[in-house]
Symmetry: T
Subunit: 141 residues, 12 copies
Amino acid sequence: MKILVINGPNLDLLGTREQAIYGTETLDDIKGHLEKKAKELSVEIDFRQSNHEGDIIDWIGEAKKTIDAIIINPAAYTHTSVGIRDAISAVELPAVEVHLSNVHAREEFRQRSYIAPVCLGQICGFGSHGYILALEALINR
Amino acid sequence: MKILVINGPNLDLLGTREQAIYGTETLDDIKGHLEKKAKELSVEIDFRQSNHEGDIIDWIGEAKKTIDAIIINPAAYTHTSVGIRDAISAVELPAVEVHLSNVHAREEFRQRSYIAPVCLGQICGFGSHGYILALEALINR
Amino acid sequence: MKILVINGPNLDLLGTREQAIYGTETLDDIKGHLEKKAKELSVEIDFRQSNHEGDIIDWIGEAKKTIDAIIINPAAYTHTSVGIRDAISAVELPAVEVHLSNVHAREEFRQRSYIAPVCLGQICGFGSHGYILALEALINR
Amino acid sequence: MKILVINGPNLDLLGTREQAIYGTETLDDIKGHLEKKAKELSVEIDFRQSNHEGDIIDWIGEAKKTIDAIIINPAAYTHTSVGIRDAISAVELPAVEVHLSNVHAREEFRQRSYIAPVCLGQICGFGSHGYILALEALINR
Amino acid sequence: MKILVINGPNLDLLGTREQAIYGTETLDDIKGHLEKKAKELSVEIDFRQSNHEGDIIDWIGEAKKTIDAIIINPAAYTHTSVGIRDAISAVELPAVEVHLSNVHAREEFRQRSYIAPVCLGQICGFGSHGYILALEALINR
Amino acid sequence: MKILVINGPNLDLLGTREQAIYGTETLDDIKGHLEKKAKELSVEIDFRQSNHEGDIIDWIGEAKKTIDAIIINPAAYTHTSVGIRDAISAVELPAVEVHLSNVHAREEFRQRSYIAPVCLGQICGFGSHGYILALEALINR
Amino acid sequence: MKILVINGPNLDLLGTREQAIYGTETLDDIKGHLEKKAKELSVEIDFRQSNHEGDIIDWIGEAKKTIDAIIINPAAYTHTSVGIRDAISAVELPAVEVHLSNVHAREEFRQRSYIAPVCLGQICGFGSHGYILALEALINR
Amino acid sequence: MKILVINGPNLDLLGTREQAIYGTETLDDIKGHLEKKAKELSVEIDFRQSNHEGDIIDWIGEAKKTIDAIIINPAAYTHTSVGIRDAISAVELPAVEVHLSNVHAREEFRQRSYIAPVCLGQICGFGSHGYILALEALINR
Amino acid sequence: MKILVINGPNLDLLGTREQAIYGTETLDDIKGHLEKKAKELSVEIDFRQSNHEGDIIDWIGEAKKTIDAIIINPAAYTHTSVGIRDAISAVELPAVEVHLSNVHAREEFRQRSYIAPVCLGQICGFGSHGYILALEALINR
Amino acid sequence: MKILVINGPNLDLLGTREQAIYGTETLDDIKGHLEKKAKELSVEIDFRQSNHEGDIIDWIGEAKKTIDAIIINPAAYTHTSVGIRDAISAVELPAVEVHLSNVHAREEFRQRSYIAPVCLGQICGFGSHGYILALEALINR
Amino acid sequence: MKILVINGPNLDLLGTREQAIYGTETLDDIKGHLEKKAKELSVEIDFRQSNHEGDIIDWIGEAKKTIDAIIINPAAYTHTSVGIRDAISAVELPAVEVHLSNVHAREEFRQRSYIAPVCLGQICGFGSHGYILALEALINR
Amino acid sequence: MKILVINGPNLDLLGTREQAIYGTETLDDIKGHLEKKAKELSVEIDFRQSNHEGDIIDWIGEAKKTIDAIIINPAAYTHTSVGIRDAISAVELPAVEVHLSNVHAREEFRQRSYIAPVCLGQICGFGSHGYILALEALINR
């Protein structure tokens, strides 16, 4: 079993970005934790980050052939990308939306997710541990 | 460590209710799985269900003295209860909102949660496994 | 055939409440007329009233086992209760929504019914006679 | 006592139109049932159909002189005709709005009725039996 | 194969009406071009215009028996007629919505079409050539 | 100079309709007053009423050839007819919108006029005298 | 009979302001025409202009004692002044709202009038002649 | 004279709940102050709290027979309970709505009160002193 | 201690204005009652009224130096004046908003107060007694 | 004559993606059909696809020099890209918007097109044949 | 060249008002800096402040004769004054809107400017330096 | 001191694009003017343009290490990019938003800026001179 983990815009800045909100953990740290967990569960992880909506759509489109499930933290694209929504619909792979922060406690425009309706479910507010939970949710299924 | 698990309206009907959507698992089944997991993690679970908004507010208010964290599936009250929101704010305990189904893929009025903004986070769409994930999320914290 | 008749908040005050709008008939009078009609039609009536949303959800949940159809005047809960809506969906019994007054001629917020979309239909504006019509509608079906 | 029964646009197609939703009963069948019931109740029925908003307004305007009450299924004009609303207000005759289907369970734009606020009440969701109920509601009054 | 071509309100004024926007071509010219094209494609055209919403609903209702497809330029009724929408749904014939001008570039209220959702598709902005394109789209199907 | 005076739906009921609001004057009385005034001002009046939106659109379309200006009380069609709006735009004749009552003091949906933006101006709230004022406004121009 | 004529903000600039829209007539010209007409009709005119919302409210408040009716062109205050609305309600004098331009054909925010609902009626779009029409409307009453 | 004082959800937590906002005074303290003031004014106080909407509706319904006026702090139910609104309308007793905090300075959804329109008036923002002011307001009347 | 009492537009008309709603008490009567109460409480009152938004902003700006608290009945400016809101924020004096009538039971546009969010609290619906309550609320603080 | 044909996000997945909706035709098939048709009409086609909004903007910007017209299926970017809209405005080339499915019959957010208002027109709902129609529309012009 | 600099409500309180937001600089300081800069650029400055909307409209109206351009910080009137907007339109002088704070980062209602659409442009968020930038922007033009 | 100057989509077309609105100056001209000014002020400029949202997010993310401030003209992305907003928040560098045209005088959807709330301020409407003003604003700070 192989899982594509997609990180959206600005997540490459984790650890330096607004530490009061996002903590000091970097995206590499998250990757490390997740790969360790994946090993325990005998699944393979393909962990990526891009600030480009088009890259993320490309990756999802290509995933159809080689990937079994998707974990996606679309970050800012959560609220603006119909393209990523359509990509997930198109490939018909099970997907889980993850957010580090509790988006429901933030600005009004962050309440709308274009992505969540085409995912299995959403996990938000648990920091990097959310990725681990998403992985377990996919495996459990 | 003791965790109060609150189940809102109509969850007592699980297993009989709309099986195509909610499956054949009963609330007692969920309670069983969760208690087993809790035992492994050495935490105590107080698992309850009520169709009465007032009961749920009562329970949260009393939780302050004896409970360390809350897992809540507010079901229909997610979208209509300012009272449960205020109760969680008032007791200042960490709480996680859980939904069996992916609320983001349902009716417009189910997109708004009064409860999520005062919780740590939200987990939805993973059926009864969502309770296990919520428990892990609280322990991890 | 057994029909559960549910009356929502403040309907216990009928006959004393705003007589210019609601008339001098009490809820017991309505019960009497309806039971007489039910006898003629050889159906059994279980007639109840509560001001508690939770009671109404409880009753509908329990109805699954012993009841064939529901007549409900959800009164104020028409406009605010997702819980009662979900209860009716869950038990999958035929239900008819009744209102004494013509809700379409009243305040804006009374235009929205959470309950009607999961009922067979709605009858409003004919005072207590609406219950008789609802009974006939169910029998005719 | 004489009652004008008005059927709005496309109701002439009943029996052929979307049978899964509307059944195989034609408008003539409905007329037949209603006239039979009217005879029992010793009232006279004037049963009409038009696809023209103007015809319906004409008929209501003329009704003032010879008609005692109106049963109207405005169909599509329910949601778009201020003219029919004003006509009913103008003649000050008791009127009942009937719909075959449960409009509350359909598209958003079908939730708004221009006509209902100037009627005695509304009956929807009971197919052709709704006309019989409307007749009884008027007689009872 | 026989196609009903319906032209809505004010289209009889083409050629005299706001020539800067609509050009000097009359509705008869459009009819001519379309009949010529139809002949080439061996289909029969029944070309009509009315300013009356009721006429248009009448025509669509009658089309069920003798017509294979509909091309409709509902003009102003695009934005206000639920009746025409319901008529097209009722007869279950393939239909194409045509507009001479690009409605998306005009007033806000012209953005909403009640008709388009029940058609196969929509063609707008190409003047009278839109009718030819609609004909081809139907034939191609 | 010839002026077309168009009266929309239900205005034929004036004098009998809701006398507390509209008074006892009939449409014929209004016609009489207006024709007398027109004679004084040496203009010709063509005074009509219809409950049919299509008739009104027909009349405006034909007006292009023989009429110099339009006075229109669109009544209920004020708020729902894009067709009449487009007709007035199409013939490019000066038009004045008249209302007997002060529409700005009535229901929310009567605040919107589709017609007024394509007229020279609007006069409302002065009963039948509004027609005289409209005539003077046109002559003065 | 004495009539207070109130002119709101920027009307002192008439004749110099945007001549393409408002023409070359000054406010003094309008005053002249109106006083001439008033003389013919044997009524007295008190013609004023202010850019200050407070002045206009003061004038209306004082009008109660000495004035029989009000003609008001509230200009920009039409859309923003609840104070002027309340003043007219308070003094219970008949009032007519006048606008030089057709406000219904301008920006969205000019569609809302706080003032019109407490006036007898509204006249707009006829330039300075609107004042003469308003005077006649008041006299006719 | 006897006054029913109703406290809505979570007010039982006062003194422990979010002390920075609500202070250290408990609901018993408020009861004490109010009873002392009532004694001075020779009125009797019946002071209650419930987290159950249904209880509050029950109490208001029963109040009709034995109570002269109502002071109500509906807390969270202010914004969601049509049932309490209808109860106050039904018993036709003078009522005053009180809030400890200034609801106008809080979340958007706290701006809407279903209760206030059926009360004499509203007092908010003065902490527990608001109850004393409400009592004086009722006595003064 | 010195308190500035500000009365907004049209309050100078009290006693003559719409007596059915506002009673026969004049603003001078209110001033008298309030000064008597103030004397009892040993505070000084500076009681003013203006119809000019600018005057009220001027007064609040000057209040910083010599005034300890503000009681303000902004009347119509409640709903339209960001300027008065900013003035109260700027001087950072405790302020209480008072309304004679229950604004929550009136027109939709009166539900919004620009002023209340920057005040300590709001008192409405108790007629002139609201000023006394506001004074007590300030003293109690 | 040279025409740039732009295909937006996820169109590269055609033929594999949701075949029930989009059929089994691939984007290469569409390219083939279109090039064949273009050859017949003696125009040159430059057929491209990208998931990157920026690529599409780049291509349109460069088109100014070498291209005569644009056919664009912006797919998901239809509803979210102001950038593509501005690009088309900037190059001032005639453009036609094409959609495979009937967007008017899909989710609410697909009703809004940022692109259509700056195109000549829109064609939707005819599958791949829509490209052929767009080509003919451009040639006809 | 002579430039009118208009400061709206509460700007006279600068230096004392909310220093954390607005700093300790007074309006006189700003005037000083701006006059110094103006001298360098050989333009004349007429620097004014008023809390009265009417004063500001008066000044703009008079500006036509003697002034070449306007710098305006409308403060609270930005969001509520159609009158000032119309004044600037009327005099057809180039104007620049300045705000000390970044209005885009504040309350929702501060996002709307009635004034900006009739100005050359807007500068906000740079404190008093914004006036200098506005002056340079006007000179550069 | 080093300043990153970012130009969003379609700004590479300046000088050729809609010259009536944007003039004949190219982006290279703007770069030249700005570099000249920067030299005078002894600051370094890094001037870039991209049509790709992802590029702009990349640049801002990298800016943290080497750049002191940002001038950004996000063009179309102003209204649609949460990603650029989050990038600016993340790097915590002072930023100024610039627009060539006065966005407040254009389409409704251009009124909303996702970017401005996380910038120091906004400058719009002064053409290319806006960049110079932004530079001065940053230096002055």
